[in-house]
Subunit: 402 residues, 2 copies
């Protein structure tokens, strides 16, 4: 298996490895063409990657008339880990070199329990997954956090719903526990990377991923790369102000998008509807547990409760209002909608679409699909594996090509 | 002088030329370091560029202890042209290889006169500038248009204020008239390129340029490159809706940013203020000419007319409202404010800043300068020269490096 600390030694080796990761085994002839390398230069790079145990031979390709070209593929021992820390749960997956998920574990745990408890839970899940011998060695892990992250420092920055996490060295902690390279990013960016790698955005260079869950955020992909912005806060759209005198937001301001359309806002409005006697189903659920969540709204929508459908529509309209401006500004090729609330019902997506198609520039919406995430809950963990594999399968910084 | 149709033949030659364009003459030793080329490889590339007459020798550098290294500079015969077509005027400039302006001409002509008349005016201005022998040959021209442009086709697309321009082949027309490569883009994108090359955004990779003139638009630079979006409409923020039931906009919708804060909206509100007897200065100007323009508001602001100052403040507040959302979304390193209205007074900029600093995420505004354009009227023509020089000083497409 690839030595844990190995990294490719030339930019060509990195490109070759990422090509094998993204589109599977290739013949040497195909690799030479794709990378514009001569046969001898390619042979040299493949030999070196074989010595480093990143790649292996996969037999011979069908003849194209001349000598049969041998197949090169990623080592079948390569393993990446994706960790997706949500507000109320943790997901962990192990993938192979092509980022196909080999094993997946989940635990319900609130992020408010603090980093020590939550990261221990993630490590436990990973140990259980590895107990069957799926991943005797792993080569890196990518971790998603439900709040602002300093990508450079590998730590959360003043995350609003995460007591104890501010500046906590998540990257160092996980890297030391696992003995491999780790990268940390916010959960929405990882979902965007996941959809870019294996989901609905696979062939799209410029797209937005809008997550509507407990909070609301956006991942921005430009030219096939995440756009994080100069302070790493790009895509933080949950606190864009919709109305000056709107409802109060948890952030301290008022009229923010999240104060209208997040899971928390839905739960608040659902309780109001239950108390006001506007929804028999929500009232029934409220009576049972003494509180309501966004999931209860979903439940009520699934039985056709009109008040619940109206709540979801209203949320979709508000998100669509903000998205319409962003589409005019950014002119993406695709909008992917993800997150627990987004998955709740078609009425939310329909309202979002309607707001965007009505209000954005015609030139920007002429050919703009607005679709649900394909990977759903797996987007974050696949994105985590993608993030760290981008690092592990590239030359170390400083010897990059210019 | 460089042969007109020449192009660099290798990616290294392109990088070398753009480095000389952006940071002036360099010694061979410096070039070798910057481009990571061996002495012999560099000598080969410089020799070839000398044969193509793109570069020339500029004497010897001061000794660094060993043999003195000879200086390489761009040919002093290189000439680029920038053409900036505004709603009511045309600007043309000739630059040298480093895009320093050698000559500049301007004519008042409305874009509503149609492409034949306006482009002829631009060509006349250029002929006059060339009459003194400044530019016996030119090597390319970049043209800015005050409306949506298909960059790929080199033609305007349904520009709202430009009868006769829709799909007009501006690139082909100008290219045939001048016998050189031409590129066409919208005026705001070119202003952003101008500020990137020689203005306040010189060392900034990710920034926004907001132009407030007859219309309102935004240039987006990501990683030192223009972001045009999938249909080329990125940055078209003038028709972002601020209020559902706001004033009617020329586009047919209501409540658009331009309906509140463009030069046209200012003129409309100024006439209302004059008629209502709220502003002695505006009433006086209105009586003189029977109409008011944004420039009249500027005039009234300069003499301290309170109603005019209030108009400008109100416009700044509206632009700031939209900009606050875009800053949260995009997390730029700098916002440059340009255009005729923006230059009108500090009160507009102050209101914009206040709205952004109050409403955007603290993480996104912690270190975010919002400043006036440095190049002002020259930004468009320098940007035009930059746009075409990017093409002329690069290897033709298809033999680019991967």
């Amino acid at each position: 298996m690839p030595r844990i600390a190995s990294r490719p030694e030339t930019p060509q080796q990195g490109r070759l490895l990422r090509l094998l990761r993204d589109s599977g085994p290739h013949s040497r002839a195909e690799l030479g063409e794709a990378l514009k390398l001569s046969r001898s230069k390619l042979a040299h790079e493949v030999d070196r990657l074989t010595e480093l145990e990143f790649v292996e031979s996969g037999g011979f390709a069908a003849s194209r008339g001349g000598r049969r070209s041998s197949i090169v593929r990623l080592s079948k021992h390569l393993r990446f880990v994706g960790v997706d820390i949500g507000a109320t749960s943790v997901d962990v997956a192990i993938t192979d070199g092509q980022l196909d998920v080999l094993g997946h574990g989940n635990a319900e745990i609130g992020v408010h329990n603090g980093p020590d408890t939550v990261l221990d839970t993630a490590l436990d899940l990973l140990s259980k997954l590895r107990a069957d011998g799926t991943a005797p060695d792993i080569h890196g892990a990518g971790v998603g956090i439900p709040g602002p992250v300093s990508f450079r420092d590998g730590a959360p920055v003043a995350p609003p719903i995460m007591p104890g996490w501010d500046q906590y060295p998540v990257r160092e902690t996980m890297s030391q526990a696992l003995g491999v390279p780790v990268q940390v990013d916010n959960d929405v960016n990882l979902m965007a990377l996941g959809e870019l790698h294996a989901g609905v955005a696979r062939s799209v260079d410029d797209f937005l991923l809008v997550k509507i869950g407990t909070g609301i955020g956006c991942g921005i992909v430009v030219g096939g790369e995440l756009h994080r912005g100069v302070s790493g806060s790009a895509g933080d759209i949950g606190h864009i102000q919709i109305e000056e005198n709107g409802p109060p937001c948890a952030c301290g301001n008022s009229g923010c998008l999240e104060a209208y359309a997040s899971g928390a806002a839905l739960a608040r409005d659902a309780m109001a509807a239950a108390r006001a006697g506007k929804s028999p189903r929500l009232a029934e659920l409220f009576e049972k547990s003494g509180a309501l969540s966004a999931a209860d709204v979903t439940d009520a929508v699934s039985v056709g409760d009109p008040a619940a459908v109206q709540l979801l529509r209203s949320g979709g309209h508000r998100v669509g209002q903000v998205l319409a401006s962003l589409v005019s500004f950014f002119n993406p090729g695709l909008v992917v909608v993800a997150g627990g609330v987004a998955g709740a019902g078609h009425s939310l997506l329909a309202e979002m679409r309607s707001a965007v198609y009505r209000r954005s520039l015609p030139l920007a919406t002429g050919n703009l699909p607005i679709v649900l995430s394909e990977l759903a809950a797996a987007a974050g963990v696949v994105g985590g594996a993608r993030l760290i594999s981008d690092q592990v399968l590239s030359v170390p910084r400083g010897i990059e090509e210019r």
